[in-house]
């Protein structure tokens, strides 16, 4: 009897929103930080396999407890602050590098719904803009680290990083505009729902019957098939996807665009002077940014949590969990691609990087917008 009022209290709309959001935040943070730790493990393992080695295999089976050992090592190291640094910015720069990539996760729909609760922490109408705004703040951590270190190599790394990020943010932003033109929304949840109904952006080979313009049969359920509109829109979508994923490589400072921390030229780049947990924050922040970036790629182009012929969470909690698993599996696949590329390609020269960004990707993304607009106008006429 005494339990009932408290249960009612928990089910009041505002209270319910608060504790479900808090719960989702904790779960997502836990999952993503674990993924961050294990992507470091995956990086070492993948690089080893590509180079015909074995990789970490001492701590735990196949080295699976290696991230814990690495973390303990980094925590126990001396947190050294060199002389002559700007102490305040030197201290906050690592956090500034880590925070934006975690904030991006707030708007990513990581699942359909579970017990009627939508699986997204903040369902913003302008989710995509949030992603870009927050990730554009990530450059401060790197620039301030480079400047506050009061040392040549970190400074060069910071300068490179800021010019690189400014250049590639343009292509990043412009390359997704066609997605919004097709879906007609900036809400990431609605973009995923569009892909559930009409097939993934990069692979629109199936559709949900009874949804939108492309209602071709009276039967219900998912169907394979392509029509003229989808085939035509596939072209700009593929261009968008390629430009976006390349710009994402540049944004997350991954090879072939890892000039801010090019070891051969800049020692360690912007984190040369850092040690212990501050260094770990930079190191893990890079992986967190990679996971957040993969999440954005998956949400925008690879159908988010959806799999063809798999119902969403409204059909029962089991399918809700399957959707969440699908989302993270797709992220893992994209991360594997990131690692795979890293251990394949050499680094670009800085002028090549800038030239590519400004002369090629910017123009391609811009032309792609006009192409999409033309196709959409043709389809509507």
């Amino acid at each position: 009897m005494s339990l009932m009022p408290s249960l009612d209290l928990f089910l009041q709309p505002e209270i319910f929103l608060v504790w479900t959001s808090a719960l989702k935040t904790f779960v997502i943070l836990g999952v993503v930080l674990t993924m961050v730790a294990y992507s470091v493990w995956a990086e070492r393992k993948v690089s080893a396999f590509i180079q015909d080695r074995i990789g970490p295999n001492r701590v735990g089976w196949a080295g699976l407890i290696q991230p814990v050992a690495d973390g303990v090592k980094l925590l126990l190291k001396e947190n050294f602050v060199p002389g002559g640094v700007n102490k305040f910015f030197f201290s906050i720069a690592p956090s500034l590098a880590m925070i934006p990539s975690i904030l991006v996760l707030a708007v990513l729909p990581f699942g359909s719904s579970l017990f009627g609760v939508p699986m997204v922490i903040a369902n913003l109408d302008i989710g995509v803009l949030w992603v870009f705004a927050v990730s554009s703040l990530g450059v401060y951590g790197i620039v301030l680290a480079g400047w506050a270190s009061n040392s040549k190599y970190p400074f060069l790394g910071g300068i490179r990083s800021s010019s690189q990020m400014i250049s590639y943010e343009l292509s990043l932003g412009l390359s997704v505009v066609p997605v919004f033109m097709i879906t007609g929304t900036l809400n990431l949840g609605e973009i995923v729902q569009y892909q559930v109904d009409n097939g993934w952006m990069v692979f629109p080979a199936w559709f949900q019957t009874g949804a939108g313009l492309r209602d071709m049969t009276t039967e219900s359920g998912s169907m394979f098939g392509l029509d003229l509109g989808k085939t035509l829109l596939w072209i700009p979508m593929m261009i968008s996807f390629v430009v976006f994923i390349i710009a994402m490589f540049a944004e997350t400072n991954r090879i072939p665009f890892d000039l801010p921390e090019a070891e051969q030229e800049l020692v360690g780049g912007y984190h040369t002077e850092y040690s212990s947990m501050r260094f770990a924050l930079f190191f893990l922040g890079e992986y967190a940014a990679m996971i957040a970036g993969s999440g954005v790629i998956v949400t925008l182009f690879l159908g988010g949590w959806s799999l063809p012929f798999v119902p969403d969470g409204s059909q029962g909690w089991f399918w809700g969990l399957v959707n969440i698993g699908t989302f993270f599996a797709k992220i893992a696949a994209i991360i594997f691609f990131f690692l795979w590329v890293r251990w394949t390609l050499p680094r670009f020269r800085f002028d090549q990087l800038m030239k590519l960004g400004w002369y090629v990707f910017f123009e391609v993304a811009l032309i792609n917008i006009f192409l999409t607009a033309g196709i959409l106008a043709y389809l509507q006429s």
């Binding site: 993948v46 396999f49 590509i50 180079q51 015909d52 074995i54 795979w340 394949t344």
Partner: protein, 176 residues
């Protein structure tokens, strides 16, 4: 004379980097899959797998002292090895046999025989210089310890490593 190197004429497709990138990705994924399914020969896992069986007979590992087939020590404490040792790793404290004892002819034996394995450079000069064939380089290569004192092999340890070696050694022969 200036040599003009003809730059290769790249087609538009080649200049877009994509064929080269895809080719590279194909090569790396092949290596990845082969290693994943154990088809690639990889490095020996050292502490578990050792290459002891592949060591040649003439392998120069840790220097040791050997005894003969009658379990008598061969070393006569001549100190030649101590003098020739380039890093001065060997320290010998000789002692005399009693003049009325059965081994008076041998005159000396090492009371203490220490080899500092931190200093030893495994050159094998001690083995070469030994007139009594008492010191031999064996196949032990993994000499470890937690303290410096632990890394100094004393006589007991050296005999334990060296064991018994058969063969003609003239100094113990009464008739000679």
């Amino acid at each position: 004379m200036a040599t003009i190197v003809q730059r290769p004429q790249l087609s538009l497709l080649e200049r877009s980097y994509f064929p080269a990138i895809l080719g590279g990705l194909w090569i790396t994924i092949k290596h990845f899959i082969k290693t994943l399914f154990g088809q690639t020969k990889v490095t020996m896992q050292y502490p578990e797998q050792k290459w002891d069986s592949a060591l040649p007979e003439w392998y120069r590992g840790a220097p040791t002292l050997v005894k003969d087939e009658h379990d008598r020590e061969r070393c006569v404490a001549c100190q030649l090895c101590e003098f020739i040792c380039p890093p001065r790793a060997i320290t010998i404290k000789p002692a005399e046999f009693p003049s009325n004892g059965p081994w008076a002819k041998v005159e000396k034996y090492p009371e203490k025989f220490d080899i500092d394995m931190i200093r030893c450079i495994y050159c094998g000069l001690c083995e070469e210089v030994c007139p009594e064939q008492a010191i031999f380089l064996r196949k032990d290569y993994s000499i470890t310890g937690l303290t410096r004192a632990e890394m100094v092999h004393d006589k007991e340890k050296l005999y334990e490593l060296g064991g018994v070696r058969h063969g003609l050694v003239n100094k113990w022969n009464e008739k000679k």
